[in-house]
Amino acid sequence: MRFFRDISIRYKITLLLLLVVSVVLLAVSIANVIGEVRTTRSSLVTKYSTLAKIVAAHSGAALSIADIDPSSAQEIIDDLSVEPSIIDAALIGLNGDEVVHYPSDSSDRRTSRDVGDLGARFTDDGFLEVMQQVRLNNNSHVGHIYLRASIEELHTKVYQTIVIASAVYILALVIALLLSFALQRLISTPILQLAELTRRVSTEHDYTLSAEHHGSDELGMLCQGFNSMLSEIRRRDDELMRSNDELKQFAFVASHDLQEPLRSVTSFCNMLQMECQSDLSPEAMGYLDRIIKGIARMKALVTDLLNYSRVSREEQVELERVELRNIVGEAIVNLHSSIESSRAQIFCGELPRVYGDRSQLVQVFQNLIGNAIIYRGPRPPQIHIEVTRKHKYLEIAVRDNGIGISPEHYERIFEIFKRLHNRSKYPGTGIGLAVCRKIVERHGGKIWVESKPDQGSVFRFTLPNCIEEHQDEPEQLSAARI
């Protein structure tokens, strides 16, 4: 049943039409054959009964004198040789004894017969027997006539009928098959077109396509519905993009404009500290210090937000061929002071070329290496960077020996502003990994973590591979606008 469900509707329709035709034809053929057979049987019965009756009608006189002189009776009965199917026949006297027999030398000669049932009957061994009364013209009963004929012709006829019916049946099936297959197009073609369109929309994400169908049957309604769904998708897409753009713009402007007043506050607090020491008590100086530190945290948050929104704001990621070596190098340079103070060691395997945005990739490595240093354990941080070539992309792993992450937090840490630790213990705004994820995803890759508490962490992410090494022109690929 599953097979039937999964074959194309073209074959379904064809098979169904064929099934109907073949069942109907089979019934018709069988009825035909049966009808033929019955007709033949009854015509045989008629034929031999009539023959018997005719002979009976003319053998009354001969039979009545057959005791004395059987020759005329024998003559009459011998005339039955005209019909070759007649195996034997006999004229029977009133006492039930055979008076004359045809053929005269037959081994089936019997002296008496049971005259019981009159009429024709088919015997079990495949013959037709006929028994009729013989009467004189004045209707007195003088005896019986018996006929036995072979029904070869019936068998032959049945055989012929079956053969012809079968041949016709097969021929009709072939015609039905061809016709069904040709005609199913009327239904299936528009359906297949719609299915193809659906497939294209799904794989190419092209929502500008539309279905054409000009009928007003259910198929037409399907196409109309399809088109209106597509235009709804387009509309929502546009709306989403617009509102997204607005949000991004807002986030960018907000975080940019928020920096100004922060600077003012910090600077004037600095001024208080520098110029008004004599006027302020130690407590007041302490409060000032807390104010300044609070503003510094806010500034860090705002800077990170700005960064994050800048990553999403750009129209398209311009992918160029970049050397991972240089990118990792730059990230390390940017982190040099925390690397020195933590005595961190960074080991790199082979770092090949990759397609990407240089400054964004520097950010990714800077965040990952920076995190490895911040979330270190008791030992100095040891960071390994390895690149594995997969089929169409590269998988980059940044492994550390830090405090690790327990599995229930694997997804959470990539969310913006979600942190796992107290700020005073491990510094940070909680935006670094969110930025990494955004950047990696805009490059068409994925980023994830494997880790266990106290057993370090491995952050893995994928980037598009640099396809040909020997190409001369640096190709500019653009990722889709997200």
Partner: protein, 154 residues
């Protein structure tokens, strides 16, 4: 103390800055520098042009030796102003140093392309800002770089 004539020279510096807070902070940062200076403050590009061209309410203004220019201002921002004076025959020789909160690469590049003499960012902490202003004075207004003499400027 150097005996160079620039030590006795009083430098006129035009600060083009719309934020009052930043103006106060900049003035503060200039305190204690080892040169004689006068800090003139205007709020946007239009006022700055009036100051330079001795127009409007600025009829008797001295010609500045240097211009410290903020980028983001109302009416006429720093970029437009820079473009304007670098195309003014009479004013284009005055060195303009950008002094702004923006550290965007594009802003830096555009500034130098429009012939700014230098680009400085305003750091977050006052102590760093003061240090930077001292260094600025040390470079431009001491015996490191030379500016056109007042006579030549008239």
């Amino acid at each position: 103390m150097n005996q160079n004539s620039s030590a006795q020279r009083e430098f006129n510096i035009l600060l083009v800055e719309d934020s009052e807070d930043d103006a106060v902070l900049t003035q503060y940062a200039f305190r204690g520098v080892p040169v004689r200076y006068k800090l003139h403050i205007v709020g946007d590009g239009i006022e700055a042009l009036e100051f330079l061209r001795k127009q409007g309410s600025y009829s008797d203004t001295p010609r500045p030796d240097m211009i410290l220019l903020d980028l983001n201002m109302p009416r006429m921002d720093g970029r437009e102003f820079l473009h304007e004076i670098k195309h003014d025959e009479h004013l284009k020789a005055i060195p303009v140093v950008i002094l702004t909160t923006s550290s965007a690469d594009s802003d830096v590049m555009n500034a130098y392309q429009s012939h700014a003499a230098a680009y400085m960012t305003k750091p977050f902490g006052l102590d760093v800002f003061s240090r930077n202003i001292r260094r600025f004075v040390d470079f431009w207004l001491s015996d490191t770089a030379r500016l056109p003499s007042s006579a030549a400027m008239a």
